[in-house]
């Protein structure tokens, strides 16, 4: 029996330990090629960046496709695929010449016809694209490197739209692929960008791989955000799915991965102390928290009550509840992002400062009848979850009744499209976050669209806002555009489409051996260098 006991106990432990120690050497990863392994904020699901507005598909787009124009780290739009642009004296004809020598991943040259087909598809899907196409009388491509746009009236919108940095981005595809209707997903993944998508290596839920496109010809200027030379220094980029925040951090610390795009803010203090990890804020504009009311139902169909919220809220309470560390947030009353040419506090000077007295007066003036506010509370996203209780508390302080309904984010995403009354499955409000570049102009800001039924969920309806947006689109002069923005903000302050609750910054975590990451409003992987 003693032998039996001994054998049993020893066998239970020895097998695993000896296997582990002896196999450790076998499994060392000796990689001849330079591979940058990145944990993105989500899994890549849809590989058509025009068909969806999902940020992961947009990020994928920047890997595989190139753009006519790109936004640099200062927010300026610079030529990317475009070599030369001639605008006629009357401002109605834009003649573009592409850089020479650009090819798609299948070896075919990039032509004017490809560009025109790509703009058409993008223009059929994207809100800003649709707006731009409203100015376009016709487009002419060519089998060479030129294309042109003829407008029905002059506008300052064309370059801004073609250089739009975030979803949907006007990526350039081969004409045969861009011929796919915008309502259908493409099935061929050929671009002319700095990376080739390795479709056969794509394991949904596990990893997506991109190889350096050897034939890519970067611009001669130094890389700057999404503009300038997109020089790739690694052979391959692997987007590795890791769901667990703690595991991500441990894997980065041990050098098993190289970059975490969006590390949890809870773990940043630990990462700051780790000599193997560096934290770099790559997005100069950060992100913007946004409170979205539903204009269809009481009490938020009454602008006075929404104005009361502007007085009741203050940005610091919101950003402190989630981000916590002041070095990762900025209090900013400018709707179109602090640090951009359109930054102004017009209309909000006395607001967003928790003036509860004024807010209560407005609620009384509005004749609030006690209708509860149903606010959707996503409990599964750390970066959003704490915001709703802060909003609830502020609303209750000014006399509103609040019903905070907990749900997962995906339930919220489904429910926010429902126009029914809150009691019948609809809603009154929720809070989300945008990449700030999405909200950097009156035309790109999705929640500023106040076109009633055609607006984004929440369906605000305001002719003055719509008129000012159109006026902005027609205006080419930057000074006059700012004046329009000031008027627009003053109108929004009276009749809010949404409330901006502060800018916050998401540092990227990377190994101490990583350098060259581009400072950019959208995550990009050219420029990265990895010291072995």
């Amino acid at each position: 029996m003693k032998k039996f006991l001994r054998r049993s106990v020893i066998s239970a432990t020895a097998i695993t330990l000896t296997m582990g120690l002896s196999l450790g050497a076998v499994a060392t990863s000796a990689q001849a090629e330079s591979v940058l392994t990145v944990n993105m904020h989500s899994d890549l699901k849809i590989v058509d960046p025009i068909w969806t507005t999902a940020y992961m598909s947009r990020n994928y787009g920047y890997m595989v496709y190139d753009t006519l124009y790109g936004m640099n780290s200062k927010g300026e739009i610079k030529p990317q695929m475009v070599d030369k642009l001639d605008i006629s004296a009357d401002g109605l004809t834009y003649n573009f010449t592409l850089r020479s020598g650009m090819t798609f991943h299948d070896g075919a040259p990039v032509t004017g016809d490809d560009v025109v087909a790509s703009i058409k598809r993008w223009g059929s899907k994207d809100a800003m694209g649709q707006l731009m196409m409203g100015f376009v009388k016709d487009m002419k491509g060519s089998t060479g490197d030129t294309f042109s746009l003829n407008l029905n009236k002059p506008t300052g919108l064309i370059i801004q739209a073609l250089g739009k940095p975030s979803s949907n981005v006007p990526f350039i595809m081969p004409a045969r692929i861009a011929a796919t209707p915008g309502s259908e997903q493409i099935t061929e993944y050929v671009g002319s960008g700095p990376f080739v998508f390795l479709k056969d290596e794509w394991k949904p839920g596990d990893k997506a791989e991109f190889a350096k496109f050897a034939e890519y010809k970067p611009r001669s200027e130094p890389g700057d955000g999404l503009a300038g030379g997109k020089v790739v220094h690694v052979d391959k980029v692997v987007w590795k799915v890791i769901r667990d925040a703690q595991t991500k951090m441990n894997a980065l610390s041990k050098g098993e991965i190289d970059v975490i795009e969006s590390p949890s803010h809870d773990l940043l203090p630990l990462m700051e102390k780790d000599p193997n990890i560096q934290l770099i804020d790559l997005n100069p504009f950060g992100n913007q928290y946004t409170f979205r009311p539903n204009a269809l139902h009481p009490p938020f169909n009454n602008p006075k009550i929404l104005e009361a919220l502007l007085y009741a809220f203050n940005q610091e309470d919101f950003v402190m509840s989630t981000v916590g560390d002041p070095k990762y947030f900025k209090l900013c009353k400018a709707m179109f992002i602090c640090g951009t040419p359109l930054a102004t506090e017009a209309g909000f000077e006395d607001k967003l400062e928790s003036n509860y007295k004024k807010a209560r007066e407005l609620v009384e003036e509005a004749g609030y009848d006690g209708t509860p506010v149903l606010i959707m509370h996503p409990t599964d996203l750390a970066i959003l979850g704490n915001l709703v209780p802060v909003a609830k508390s502020a609303m209750e302080k000014i006399g509103l009744k609040v019903d905070m309904v907990a749900m997962d984010w995906q339930t919220l995403v489904g429910r926010r499209n429902k126009k029914e009354l809150p009691a019948e499955g609809g809603w009154n409000a929720f809070i989300t976050s945008w990449n700030s570049v999405d909200n950097a102009s009156p035309l790109s800001t999705p929640m500023l669209n106040a076109a009633c039924d055609k607006a984004l969920f929440g369906w605000p309806c305001d002719d003055i806002i719509q008129g000012l947006r159109n006026e902005y689109a027609n205006e080419a002069d930057a000074g006059k555009q700012l004046a329009i923005v000031e008027k627009l903000q003053q109108q929004v302050a009276k009749k809010p489409t949404h409330i901006h609750l502060g800018q916050w910054y998401q540092p990227t975590a990377m190994g101490a051996n990583i350098s060259g990451a581009p400072v950019s409003p959208v995550v990009a992987f050219w420029g990265y260098k990895k010291a072995e």
């Binding site: 076998v26 499994a27 441990n250 489904g414």
Partner: protein, 313 residues
């Protein structure tokens, strides 16, 4: 026996039908709209409606159910809403890691738990018995992710014996395949060691007082042979039941371990599919798990007859 097996196999059909109805209806009743998720944050209601139409979600529920069942009978589980891949190919990609993890875990749990339970029973009331039972309670009580984090901290971060995360397919080398499975299997096996050890102890205790054990000892048989040939063999039926139950749980329920150790298996596929309301994928996975459950139960029934020839069906 053959008749019994045939009857059992056919009894799977109504079970699966009930499962199909329940899973289909539960998914449709769950809040959330896959089209809205797919369309992204800046999509308009019109974009979302267009996607719903493309996905066939505007069809009446009964029609959707009929199409799904009809396709499934021909072996077509449909395409994922997201990846534009067949659900079958996605499951095929992910089944390997889960099977490997489950097999390793059960192997580890059995080689540790059965001897421990037997020893505890043999030394009933001793410090060894109390230690094993105490550890079982701990094993039951501590969540697997806590065990995982502790193991990662000790064995990967501090000692550098194992990688923090990751899975290597067997096709890329048997060494790396085993090496990367050791820590997740150890973490996951703790609860099953606790379960199987307790069951083994109880079952062995029951048979240790039987006449045939006394007879075996009286005829001078070595204690090790008494325990393995007589006690364990006769105590095996409930132990095998628990092991079978554990295998069934492992096939569909290793989400946390797969997440913590980054193993691209069926658990994380299920989690992603549920979160994304990817109906075709969730439906196929639940059907698969149900079939596995039923087949494992059938397999256990067959094993009973081998372990105890007195059992007849």
């Amino acid at each position: 026996m053959a008749t019994y097996l045939i009857k059992r196999v056919f009894s799977v059909i109504p079970v699966m039908l009930v499962v199909a109805v329940i899973v289909f209806m539960m998914l449709r009743l769950t809040p959330g709209d896959p089209a809205a998720i797919i369309a992204g944050d800046a999509a308009t209601s019109q974009d979302i409606a267009q996607i719903r139409d493309k996905l066939g979600l505007e069809e009446p529920l009964i029609a959707q159910f009929g199409i799904w069942i009809g396709n499934m009978l021909t072996g077509d589980f449909g395409d994922s809403f997201y990846y534009k891949r067949t659900v079958s190919s996605m499951i095929a990609d992910r089944v390997g890691p889960t099977l490997a993890l489950a097999t390793f875990t059960i192997f580890l749990a059995c080689i540790v738990a059965v001897p421990l339970g037997t020893i505890a029973a043999y030394k009933q009331g001793s410090w060894l018995d109390r230690t094993v039972m105490g550890m079982s309670v701990v094993g039951f009580s501590v969540p697997v992710f806590v065990i995982g984090y502790i193991m990662i901290y000790i064995f990967a971060v501090k000692l550098d014996w194992f990688p923090v995360q990751g899975y290597q397919p067997i096709s890329d080398g048997i060494g790396g395949f085993i090496y990367r499975l050791i820590m997740p299997s150890m973490a996951l096996s703790v609860i099953f060691i606790a379960l199987i050890a307790r069951m083994t102890r109880t079952s062995v205790l029951e048979v240790l007082n039987e006449d045939y054990i006394r007879t075996a000892r009286a005829k001078g048989l070595a204690e090790s042979k008494v325990m393995t040939r007589h006690a364990l063999r006769n105590a095996a039926v409930p132990i095998v039941t628990v092991i079978g139950f554990a295998v069934a749980i492992l096939i569909g329920g290793v989400v946390v371990t797969e997440s913590v150790f980054v193993i691209p298996g069926l658990g994380t596929l299920t989690l992603d599919a549920i979160q994304g309301r990817d109906y075709p994928t969730v439906q196929a996975l639940i059907m698969l798990f149900s079939v596995v459950y039923v087949l494992i139960n059938l397999f256990i029934d067959v094993i009973y007859t081998i372990l105890d020839p007195r059992i007849r069906y």
